[in-house]
Amino acid sequence: MNGELLTAALLGTDRHPPPVADHPAVADLVADAAVDAADDPTAAGPARRLLTTIAAAVVAERAGQTPRAALPFVIRAASDDRPLLPVAAARRWTQLRGPLAALRPEYLAAATAAGWRPSADVLVAMLGWARGSVRHHRAVLAFGDPLASWLLDLLPDLGLLERATGEHEQHQPVPPEIVTIFETAAERPADFAAHLVAGIGDGSYRWAHRGVLSNAVVSAPVAVLAAAAEQLTQLHDDALRLGDSGGPVALCAALLELVTTRRAMLTELQFTGDRR
């Protein structure tokens, strides 16, 4: 659309006559429309003529669009020979939301240790997630480099926020009544599942402790997960059978989801099949 049309439209046809279209085809089209509208004084007026000219010019511009001049491409990223993160593992990252987001640091560590190359969508999502934490950001770079650093050079908006938390993040204090779960996980891992389930069963561990218990599950040794899943399932089913649909069932369900997701996540990340 040329400047004359815009000027006329800005000032209005009461003050500025509509210009003649600069392209002959558009001008012809406007002339044809004027002939068609000859019997209708409104349609033949300057306002309608301006609108018709604008419509024709806009459609001509859009229908006839062509690319602008070529530009140099950005410098290519260094190659990365690691095998690509499996589809299931990539999908898993997108599912680690809400309470399951607590598994993300472990996901990153496991993926890095397993030697995967991040898929494009996961890398971008990770960079976005890690913007608020120096620790997470470093972990993403460890997993995603050299591509991650290259991407951040091009798109600084994906980098750390100014208000990002430091290297050592504050964790919420553990209430004294449940501190034993962490001690059990560290000192007697074989007893972890039984301890957890017993605490939920006798009411020592309640819904209000869910956040801290989730941390315990997330940081517990991998070896305890199978037993934890089995015993949490048993307690959950027993509670349901007894008609107890209150706190213990909900707490069991939440922790069970965390345990099963963690197990699935680690299985997917240690996937040793086709490493294209």
Partner: protein, 475 residues
């Protein structure tokens, strides 16, 4: 058997030369089925480019016509076309179908008491030497199919729609007279009142466009240019909408839809099926006023035709998640009238393996210039289109103004920077290719192109603008 009308009678009945010419364009034997003529009636079924045929009936004695097309003009071109076929000897005598009989009985011409059948009830544009009208049969209750009521309601809808279009044209004229610098343009009421009137006129599609346009006023440094362009397109729709009866069938249907003429999904799903292997090429969610609109773009791997599935979600409702980007689905789609881009997905028979879609997209992808040509051709067919998809091989780079653009070896195209999630989309394009061109589905908008899907590593990365998770429910 009645003598067929002469050409002169048909010309007179048509009333306008343009309508007669339009009628001639549909007077093609191959486009008609179930045609027949009785002592009083002429009927037939017209198969144009609409998914649904139109049922046409002409009372050649009382000189009335009825058609199921959306045209407000009476007689419409289909009635004229049918009369022309009859005059050319292409319509055989037959017994009147019950539906035609019911219609005639339910829709008797209004005649003064005692004057029935003397010809005074003929429409003003009836042929002057039309055969004399016999005494009509006594009035009977309307048919039990309620078709009379439906027709009346439809006519009322069309009248309201046309009134809305006239209103829109007047409003647009006022904007041009007073200019975009008029302070009234900055007031939301100026737009909202028009949108409300268009909603009342059942032109909801236009009302939505008006409300979206209101949001562009003052929203960017070049808003005058953007708003003006859209006002031009609106004037095009309004002018087209008023002339629907004169337009070719397919275009007429598309214009009617652009104006807000609604078609029942069930009617579309009952139309002709288009079977293909459909690549789910891309998805974009756009907030339009109080709803999220999801467009899912399908590309026929055999036909190379595009189709688009729309779904909507108001607050805390779910959007359609049944079509996953990157999938290839064998099955049917049914197009909305006028060979529209919009479709309803019908029967699905097969889902291809996960990497088939990515491979297919890589094969289909064209240069940016070819992608532009595809989009341009689609705009030529539907100049009011707001979003169109194409698949290109490209990367992104930075132009002299520091803006990200799509780029291939021969040129660049602007990226719509104001779209949701566009930074993440650009980042994914870069990360997937490492700076090299990759196949991707992009969506054209008036503001620029939006990357929707990146095809790389045998995968499809869905990077299109996504609905706000706080607004819509997860499926």
């Amino acid at each position: 058997m009645s003598r067929s009308w002469s050409l002169e009678q048909i010309v007179t009945f048509a009333g306008q030369a343009s309508r007669f010419a339009a009628g001639e364009s549909v007077a093609n034997v191959g486009l008609w089925t179930a045609a027949g003529v009785s002592d009083r009636a002429l009927w037939g079924r017209y198969h144009g480019s609409s998914s649904e045929p139109y049922d046409v009936a002409v009372d050649h004695v009382d000189v009335r016509a009825r058609c199921s097309c959306p045209s407000r003009q009476r007689p419409c071109k289909h009635a004229i076309g049918l009369l022309l076929l009859w005059s050319q000897g292409h319509v055989a005598a037959s017994s009147e179908p019950p539906a035609v009989t019911r219609w005639f009985r339910a829709d008797q011409p209004i005649a003064p008491a005692g004057d029935a059948g003397n010809g005074d009830a003929q429409p003003a544009d009836a042929p002057s030497d039309a055969p004399p009208a016999p005494t009509p049969p006594p009035p009977e209750p309307p048919g039990d199919d309620g078709s009379g009521d439906r027709d009346t309601a439809r006519d009322q809808r069309i009248a309201r729609l046309l009134a809305g279009l006239v209103e829109l044209e007047r409003w647009l004229d006022d904007r041009m007279r007073t200019g975009l610098a008029d302070p009234a343009l900055a007031r939301f009421d100026t737009w909202d009142e028009l949108a409300a009137r268009l909603t009342d006129a059942r032109a909801s599609a236009l009302a939505n466009r008006i409300r979206r346009l209101a949001g562009k006023v003052g929203a960017s440094s070049d808003w005058h240019r953007r708003v003006l362009a859209e006002l031009g397109v609106l004037s095009l729709i309004a002018a087209g909408g008023r002339r629907v009866p004169e337009l070719p069938d397919g275009l007429a249907d598309r214009v009617a839809t652009a104006c807000g003429w609604q078609v029942r999904t069930a009617d579309v799903a009952g139309g002709t099926a288009e079977t293909d292997d459909w690549l789910v090429a891309g998805r974009s969610d756009v907030r339009e006023d109080l709803i999220e609109v999801r467009r899912v773009w399908l590309h026929g791997l055999r036909s190379r035709r595009w189709a688009m599935v729309l779904s909507f979600a108001a607050y805390q409702q779910t959007l359609d998640e049944s079509l996953r980007v990157g999938q290839v689905i064998s099955g049917d789609v049914h197009r909305y009238p006028g060979a529209s881009l919009r479709v309803v997905v019908g029967e699905r028979t097969h889902l291809a393996a996960a990497d088939v879609g990515s491979r297919a997209a890589t094969e289909i992808a064209s240069s940016l210039a070819a992608g532009c040509a595809d989009v341009g051709a689609a705009i030529s067919a539907e100049p009011w289109a707001e979003r169109l998809a194409t698949i290109v091989t490209a990367t992104v780079t930075i132009d002299e103004h520091g803006h990200w653009v799509l780029a291939d070896e021969h040129g660049t195209l602007p990226i719509a920077a104001s779209e949701r999630d566009v930074t993440a989309a650009i980042a994914t394009v870069l990360a997937a290719g490492g700076g090299r061109p990759v196949a991707m589905t992009v969506e054209w908008t008036a503001e620029g192109y939006v990357p929707l899907t990146v095809f790389a590593d045998g995968r499809a990365y869905d990077v299109g603008p996504r609905a706000d998770g706080d607004f819509v429910e997860a499926a």
